[in-house]
């Protein structure tokens, strides 16, 4: 009988915090900028420079910890992690090993198999490294320290997940919490959220976990799912063949859907951690914790409850809209302008979702303003444009955040309300299409659809189809 295996997964999630300046100096964290322009002696590891902690980093880390049920380490310290690599200007990273800021938390996830809690072992603060650029032409490598010193938190879970579905649910949950807190935008593609997957398999009923591997370079939820599945199968195959799994770090190649070993436990570096002598310990008072708690923005569950009470929209819509902090912000701001929650929800649920899917975008990538969506809703409400035109205009709003009022004006898309013009057009269409007129008279209802379409085309869509229909019937007698 075939053996049954269980997959055991723990995650190390790195999140880039949304501070304006770096963790240990005043340089901007903005993306872009010419190489080494967002730098100073501190974040380029110049001799004699010293780090000074950015208070906002501590507050964001505390906020994430409090929102994930962690206890805050009120006497916490930084440590140095020593390793040589050119993207790391000091050749040590300032991180936390011995006294991380948050410990012993957890989040509840919901999957097809029900609810469960994934425990969080710890959350610690650290600095990001620079970026190496390999110049194949010159046969040399260049380093850009613009990202060096950008603040990160690392959220380390317990090995509590058993499937890719649970992993994705956990990541989605973390992402939402952190986005709602405003601590990060959590974009996997851009690297502001990165997950390393620790995975092992064991026979169901075994008393010990199997040997685990760590998977790196996972840049999307899809890549994470694929990597988990591939690694699960690889490990089971090894065990079935009587071989053993090696404890190692592996790199996932999502194009080849294959991972390869980067380094084994034997090559593991000794990071020689020790307390960072250039930074004093952080004392976190009860008052400080309380003020971070009090300033915590409304989280998803509270928001869902409020939407249900305040707006008359379906629970399903609420789930989708609050599934992204950005989307719920757009919803609330648009409703505040146009006072039409149902209409706003419809635009977001139907057209917005369709366009996002079509362009393979995330709700976080939405660029149109609540003002423009509100204007579009107003235009349809006042029947200045019909629903077909509205959809067309929305595509422009979605794409370029175009002002719909101006666009409708410039393109002359206003619904034609002049009966005379419509009557004239219909008469012309009837004249050009005698066969269809005859078909209609011979009882073929379908023919009228063709004539409505032709009229609509001639009128460039600026007419309400219902109006055409009734006038056609009148003229056809």
């Amino acid at each position: 009988m075939a053996k049954v295996y269980e997959t055991v997964i723990g995650l190390e999630v790195h999140v880039e915090l949304a501070t304006k300046t770096k963790i240990f100096c005043g340089c901007t964290t903005e993306f872009g900028g010419l190489p080494n322009t967002h730098t100073c002696p501190v974040c380029t590891g110049m001799p004699g420079s010293l780090p000074v902690l950015n208070k906002q980093v501590v507050e964001y880390a505390m906020a994430v910890g409090l929102a994930t049920d962690c206890s805050i380490t009120q006497y916490c310290k930084f440590d140095r992690k020593n390793y040589f690599y050119p993207d790391n200007p000091q050749n040590y990273q300032i991180s936390q090993l011995y006294l991380p800021i948050c410990r012993d938390g957890g989040v509840e996830i919901e999957t097809s198999r029900g609810k469960k809690t994934v425990r969080i072992h710890e959350i610690h603060m650290e600095e990001d490294a620079g970026k190496l650029i390999h110049d194949e032409w010159e046969n040399c490598s260049l380093v850009d320290y613009n990202r060096s010193g950008v603040p990160l938190i690392e959220i380390v879970s317990e090995p509590d997940m058993r499937s890719a579905e649970e992993v994705i649910a956990y990541l989605e949950k973390l992402r939402l919490i952190i986005q709602y807190l405003g601590a990060s935008d959590c974009k996997l593609q851009e690297g502001s959220m990165r997950a390393d997957v620790n995975l092992s398999v064991n026979e169901v009923g075994a008393t010990e976990f199997g040997t685990r591997t760590e998977m790196k370079n996972l840049n999307s939820f899809k890549a994470i799912s694929r990597a988990i599945e591939a690694e699960r199968i690889r490990q089971i195959e090894l065990i079935e063949e009587g071989k053993s799994v090696t404890q190692e770090t592996r790199r996932w190649d999502d194009n080849k859907e294959y991972s390869y070993a980067m380094r084994s436990k034997e090559d593991a570096q000794d990071y020689r951690y020790f307390p960072e002598p250039d930074l004093v310990p952080i004392a976190i008072s009860d008052e400080w914790i309380a003020s971070v708690k009090n300033n915590q923005p409304e989280l998803r569950t509270a928001k869902q409850k409020r939407y249900l009470e305040e707006y008359d929209i379906p629970e399903y819509d609420i789930d989708i809209i609050t599934g992204s902090k950005h989307l719920s912000d757009i919803f609330e701001q648009t409703v505040a302008i146009c006072k039409q929650p149902k209409k706003v929800s419809n635009w977001l649920m139907v057209e917005t979702m369709r366009l996002l899917k079509e362009h393979e975008m995330e709700p976080e990538d939405i660029r149109f303003s609540p003002e423009n969506l509100a204007k579009l809703i107003k235009l349809t409400e006042e029947k200045v444009i019909n629903s077909t035109v509205a959809k067309e205009v929305f595509e422009r709003v979605f794409k370029d955040n175009t002002d719909p009022e101006k666009y409708v004006d410039e393109k002359g898309l206003k619904t034609v309300t002049d009966d005379g013009a419509l009557r004239k057009t219909i008469e012309e269409i009837m004249e050009k299409n005698p066969q269809s007129v005859e078909d209609f008279h011979n009882g073929k209802e379908k023919a009228i659809g063709f004539l409505v379409g032709q009229t609509m085309k001639a009128m460039q869509g600026k007419v309400d189809p219902g109006t055409i229909n009734s006038m056609l019937r009148e003229l056809l007698g």
């Binding site: 420079s49 000091q90 000794d270």
Partner: protein, 489 residues
């Protein structure tokens, strides 16, 4: 009286009255460097043209009344481990042999704002690792009292430059005695303030939790004034302390009546040269005669200070020196194949033997499996030493003892036996582990004609007590320079 024999504050007075021009004082020390530095090699870099240029600018500011402080117009030298904008800063190491910083250390900025004229950068033990200034990659510095002897270290260039009148005062840095011991060997005054009093920003780190910048000068008055100028709360240094009591020159008062001074018996045991002992105890007697209450006590734990210090300082140094890798600045090996070969060759060629020894020692004590047994134990020892001093300062205002077990050794003697050299730090090291302030004041000359230093140690933030006692002693002792004592010059 020669212009060169003036103290820093005396010179500033004469500049203020117009008796001496800044440029003349600057020229005088530059001429002295030209004349003497080939013999003593106090300097790694002399910034002649800029110094003269700055002298003119500062003279104008003094004339216009913009600069009125007690150091305005005084030529100074800076130890070569403090960054100076636009001026070579080498740490006396080949690996930083071409490093020109784009920023200055906070202490230097404070002095320049006060109108002091930077004339050059002084030689030191490579990365401040050594007690003789012989580990410099750019040649040894010799003691102006006897060029066959070392000036001490690691701030040997600074101490020798002050003793040899090649500058009016200098800055040194003290991690385990690196200001006090060379000051003692060169017959000048050197002071290490409480940890956190002077910003470390721009000081190229050796042992970050122990390093402090301090003055080396001709007398206690100069030291107090310089320390007052360089002390500042600096937001760029997280270990910098906000203090309201840095008006140290207020403590230049001749009075030790009722002051309680403890002499640790542990500091006068085997290993202490008898001439040093006699001289230090004679100084204690002098203070007692003037009304101080002097008594012996058991400090204990002294023998643990050296192993704890070399464990902690080396551990921090092994990490602090990782940034010198040939990637961003400094020396890079000529030939290499790939990244790791570049790292290995650059660092093998760029660092000297003593630095490598401490990097290896430090890396070892931080290694997994040894961290608890060595590094953590050393940290616990450090905490115990602090406690022992806390208890002593409940009873005493000051602790009095020698600076070093002997006077300056001959060149070439110390590096043969590093352990013996490390043991020479026995009286200075505990002060750094406990973060305390301490001063070294000349208190005598031995039979070989070499100066002996007296050490006064105070509780944290009690520099004023040290300054007051040291100033009183200095007044009682009378003038101390090579000429009056029949020295070399």
């Amino acid at each position: 009286m020669s212009i060169l024999s003036l103290s820093a504050t005396q010179l500033a007075e004469k500049i203020k009255t117009g008796e001496i021009k800044v440029v003349d004082a600057t020229r005088a020390v530059l001429d002295q460097i030209d004349k003497e530095d080939s013999n003593y090699h106090c300097f790694v870099t002399v910034d002649r043209e800029n110094a003269l240029l700055k002298a003119e600018i500062i003279q104008k500011k003094i004339d216009s009344g913009e600069l009125t402080g007690p150091l305005a117009g005084v030529p100074m030298a800076i130890k070569d481990n403090m960054c100076t904008e636009g001026l070579l800063t080498t740490c006396s190491s080949k690996i930083l042999g071409n490093f020109i910083p784009t920023y200055s250390s906070e202490a230097v900025i404070n002095l320049e704002a006060a109108g002091a004229v930077l004339i050059g950068k002084t030689n030191m033990d490579e990365f401040a690792m050594g007690s003789t200034t012989e580990t410099s990659a750019f040649g040894v510095t010799k003691n102006p009292w006897n060029p066959e002897c070392v000036p001490g270290g690691s701030s040997g260039g600074s101490a020798a430059a002050v003793a040899g009148q090649e500058c009016y005062f200098a800055l040194g840095s003290d991690t385990g005695g690196s200001i006090r011991q060379p000051a003692s060997f060169c017959g000048v005054v050197g002071m290490k303030p409480t940890y956190g009093t002077v910003s470390r920003y721009g000081l190229i780190a050796y042992g970050s939790s122990l390093d402090q910048i301090g003055p080396i000068a001709k007398n206690v008055t100069d030291c107090a004034v310089i320390l007052e100028t360089i002390s500042s709360h600096d937001i760029k240094d997280s270990t910098s302390v906000k203090r309201a009591d840095t008006d140290f020159s207020k403590a230049l008062v001749q009075d030790v009546t009722g002051m309680k001074i403890g002499i640790p018996k542990d500091y006068f045991l085997e290993g202490l040269n008898h001439e040093v002992r006699d001289s230090v105890l004679a100084a204690a007697k002098l203070l007692k005669e003037k009304g101080a209450i002097v008594e012996e006590f058991d400090l204990s734990l002294v023998e643990y200070a050296i192993p704890a210090y070399y464990t902690i300082a080396s551990a921090e140094a092994s990490s602090n020196l990782e940034r010198f890798d040939g990637i961003k600045y400094g020396y890079r090996t000529k030939e290499f194949e790939g990244l790791h070969s570049m790292y290995k060759r650059t660092r093998s060629e760029g660092f000297g033997a003593e630095v490598k020894r401490r990097i290896m020692l430090g890396s070892f004590v931080l290694s997994s499996g040894y961290y608890d047994a060595y590094y953590l134990k050393a940290l616990r020892t450090k905490a115990l030493i602090k406690k022992v001093f806390d208890e002593a300062f409940e009873k005493y205002d000051l602790i009095l003892g020698p600076v070093a077990p002997t006077t300056a050794p001959k060149l070439g003697e110390s590096l043969k036996d590093p352990i013996k050299m490390y043991l020479g730090d026995i009286y200075t090291i505990a002060v750094n582990l406990a973060g305390l302030p301490a001063i070294s004041v000349p208190c005598g000359i031995d039979s070989q004609g070499l100066p002996i230093g007296l050490q006064l140690i105070g509780n944290c933030f009690e520099e004023k007590k040290i300054i007051q006692a040291a100033y009183t002693y200095e007044q009682l002792r009378g003038p101390f320079d090579k000429k009056t004592e029949g020295g070399a010059l």
